[in-house]
Symmetry: C2
Subunit: 343 residues, 2 copies
């Protein structure tokens, strides 16, 4: 392995000078700097991240910790963050928590807190205090952790506004019997639910109905596991039970995909018999048959805001400042496709 000493020797300077030169420090004479750079190139020198990180406490790497890598929404989100990080000269490393507490702890404790300058974390089973303890004082940006009294910076998906827009859209295109798939009517009775994604999307629905002067019936709200196969079975059950409906808001596109497939299994035509709209904006909605309308969270905006909050903390920490935690909300767009387009 070629180290900085090798480069310094080849360039005829000391290790310190080599270090400065390679990082573009102003103090080094242009000619010297050039000589060092050339030597590094010739020797195929690459700086040792562990050593740099150990010594300086900065690595230029940020961690992204998410539930499940093999699901469209989290993987598209990770990709967006990766690209956004790259724009700022940072390297993003993505780790899968598998939605298990042990794994979340292991990840925060190991790579993340030790190597990464900061972390973008989609928390599942781990409390704020635990994150605080495990993060080693490095900045953390939480995804969708809307607590009334936030401890960390966070970026929220536009749950309330998006859900509201979805319901309004269904009503606007003429739906009169709307189903909401993803949570019970009385889910909000559980206090914790209010801050969760499902609860917040539910609130958006209620807001929309209220604004439109509609009194929703509890039977319109149907709980299901947020997995495609469960949503498909839920659709079967609903059709088989004879419930009437002409519009459906699915709390995620994953539910939407399964639900639409389930309706198709039972011969329900979309959008003729029922219009369907989902939430998230995953790519595959655009290739489904029919193409699926959705409330598309702007992942670039989300990534931009998350990385931005991290960068702010870096700068602040460097300047010895602190500021209270901020919560930003990502933009969204209502994407109307075939599943809610009636001729």
């Amino acid at each position: 392995m070629v180290t900085m000493s090798d480069v310094a020797k080849a360039a005829g300077v000391s290790r310190a000078t080599a270090s400065y030169a390679l990082r573009g420090d102003e103090r080094i004479a242009p000619a010297t700097a050039e000589r060092v750079r050339q030597a590094a190139l010739d020797l195929h020198y690459t700086t040792n991240l562990s050593a740099r990180s150990l010594r300086s406490g900065r690595s230029g790497v940020i961690g992204v910790a998410i539930f499940e890598l093999d699901h469209p929404y989290p993987s598209e989100m990770s990709a967006a963050v990766s690209r956004q990080a790259a724009r700022h000269g940072l390297e993003a490393i993505v780790q899968e928590t598998s939605n298990s507490k042990d794994n979340e702890i292991a990840i925060l404790q190991k790579v993340t807190s030790q190597l990464c300058d900061g972390t973008i974390f989609s928390p599942g089973n781990v409390s704020d205090e635990e994150i605080r303890a495990l993060s080693g004082g490095k900045p953390v940006v939480l995804l969708d952790d809307i607590s009334p009294d936030p401890v960390f910076d966070s970026v929220a998906t536009p749950c309330e506004q998006g859900a509201e827009a979805a319901i309004e859209h269904l009503v606007n295109i003429g739906c009169r019997k709307i189903l909401v798939i993803g949570a019970h009517y009385d889910a909000l009775a559980d206090d914790r639910e209010v801050t969760k994604v499902s609860g917040r999307r539910l609130i958006g629905c209620f807001n929309a109905f209220e604004k439109l002067g509609i009194t929703p019936d509890p039977s319109q709200f149907i709980h299901t596991n947020w997995r495609t196969e469960d949503a498909r079975r839920t659709a079967h059950a609903i059709v088989d039970s004879g419930i009437e409906f002409d519009g459906v808001f699915c709390m995620t596109d994953t539910i939407s995909l399964g639900f639409v497939r389930g309706l198709a299994d039972r011969g329900v035509r979309i959008p003729e018999d029922a219009a369907v709209i989902g939430f998230d904006g995953i790519n595959e909605c655009d290739y489904y048959i029919p193409t699926l309308s959705t409330i598309a969270t702007d992942l670039n905006d989300l990534a931009c805001k998350a990385v931005g909050l991290l960068l702010e903390r870096f700068d602040n920490d460097a300047a010895g400042l602190t500021r209270p935690p901020r919560t930003l909300t990502a933009d969204f767009t209502l994407v109307q496709r075939e599943s809610t387009t009636r001729r």
Copy 2:
């Protein structure tokens, strides 16, 4: 930040003893070890990865470098590798190369070669020698890099066998005019193509036709960009041109998704008018309308083999051994769904 010195002091032992105790070294008396562990727990000690890695050259982290995180196949593959790594007590970090050479180099050079004990790499634009130079002597397992004279261990997807099975399946269910979407008939004229995924899937097709005594016509093989939207347009063009066909093998599920959508746009019914089968086995094939048949690469098997090769190298390197590079092929299954099921 709490360091090992703090733990050692709290437990009333030296740093070395603390280090041994925390790593479960046999030499430390059980009582001492327990005392150290308790102290570490009380102080919320977490071992500094950079320091460990710098000193011992091992981190327990493996890198996964892939094209695009927001596409189903690579993200499902990364997830499989993450989980397989976890089974061996390794942490997997995933990085997106964005299919750009600069990025591939940056990733190999930075996190990967410096922190990771080994790398699973899906190479796009970087040569074997470059990988060799950038990997810093750490083991590398390549994905789908079938060179006649391999330099690294690698795991291949079952291209030839899978494509052969796909064509045979189409013929078995009665297809007589089969289209292959993803590569030109004469793509193999380019030598490099023979080792690429597209070329190898083409070879599988040729093998199948030969085995079945069918002489394929060049016009049956249609090139398209491997993106859903391009495949959709390709389907439009094919139908509009009046080419007749009753079976389609798409070289990837992503193509399949777009192609089927494109056929649907033109009123071609699947599987009644044409049967369609893809390749890869991505999750969404199971929820499409119709559900899509596919040659499903066994990602668990692929992950198992890739991580296994890495582990072998770790052990060998530790024992001072070397062995010639090995190339393994992942298993696959033919998954028949609605798109190739005729009543």
